[in-house]
Amino acid sequence: MYVDIVENGVSLDLLHLLGFKKVLIIGKDVNIGTKQAKNLLVALDLMGDSQAAKLIKSPMCIGAVSEFSRPIGEQVFKALGEDRKVFAISARAFIANELRLKHASFAFARAKRAKAVPIIASFAKRDLELFSPMQLIRLAMLLGADMPEAKSMLRWLDASKEKA
């Protein structure tokens, strides 16, 4: 079951047509920010590493998300790995330029080493920023994932259900 995370307002029937079976809406199913909230993905670009690591350890937080405007410190991955939380990679952000792609591939390798759960999603604000599952798999492979890893980055909800 391929999952995408998008902002409210993106066409759900287009997502369905592209092949996604489940869509998480930002602000409804997940929250992105720097303050405690239900199903929080900590926005790593908006805060320092030590502050982010503290927030990641809170029980309401499900993981962290980055747009790779800066490199991410080791303590963030350590905090994510301790509870096997999600490290969400914004595909929309890292295709923007080569420096972000470099940060993203380093972050992906570190997240894997720390035993966090790397995932990839479009985080699209509008329809034109969406990707199909096949495209997201190829973009995950650009970061250094192999094919099974890349597929599991899109099927992470299945894995978390099995764990529960």
């Binding site: 592209l18 509008r126 969406l130 096949m134 997201l136």
Partner: protein
């Protein structure tokens, strides 16, 4: 000895109608050397924005990557979505007819509204 190269077909949906030449020109810089080796051609338009691209087997991954990275054609914003790859055009045709059918069954307003940036959308089944 002549070696017959096998082909793969990729079904691509565009966010708006596009012409074959425009599209191949847009993909070229994204593919680099692979563009020459992949022997790309758009072999069939199922709709103005839905078409099958043929490439030499092994280059379909590069092609999917290139469609993901292509964000504009002739300075106009566009999105290209790869929906399916296959070794036969027949299964691509079947999938394309499913896509067309699904679009036809959807309320017209929802489909039109999407391309105009309207907030209207319907839930997936």
């Amino acid at each position: 000895m002549l070696v017959r190269k096998k082909h793969r077909y990729v079904l691509v949906l565009a966010s708006k109608p596009v012409q074959a030449k425009q599209l191949l020109d847009a993909l070229r810089p994204r593919l680099g050397l692979a563009y020459a080796l992949a022997d790309l051609s758009i072999i069939k338009f199922f709709d103005k924005d839905l078409f099958a691209i043929r490439c030499i087997r092994g280059y379909e991954g590069k092609l999917i990557e290139a469609t993901a990275l292509t964000r504009s054609i002739d300075q106009e914003e566009i999105a290209l979505w790869s929906l399916k790859t296959s070794g036969t055009i027949k299964s691509i045709e079947e999938y394309a007819s499913k896509v067309i059918e699904e679009r036809r069954n959807r309320p017209a307003r929802a489909w039109d509204a999407r391309w105009q940036g309207d907030q209207f959308h319907t839930s997936p089944q």
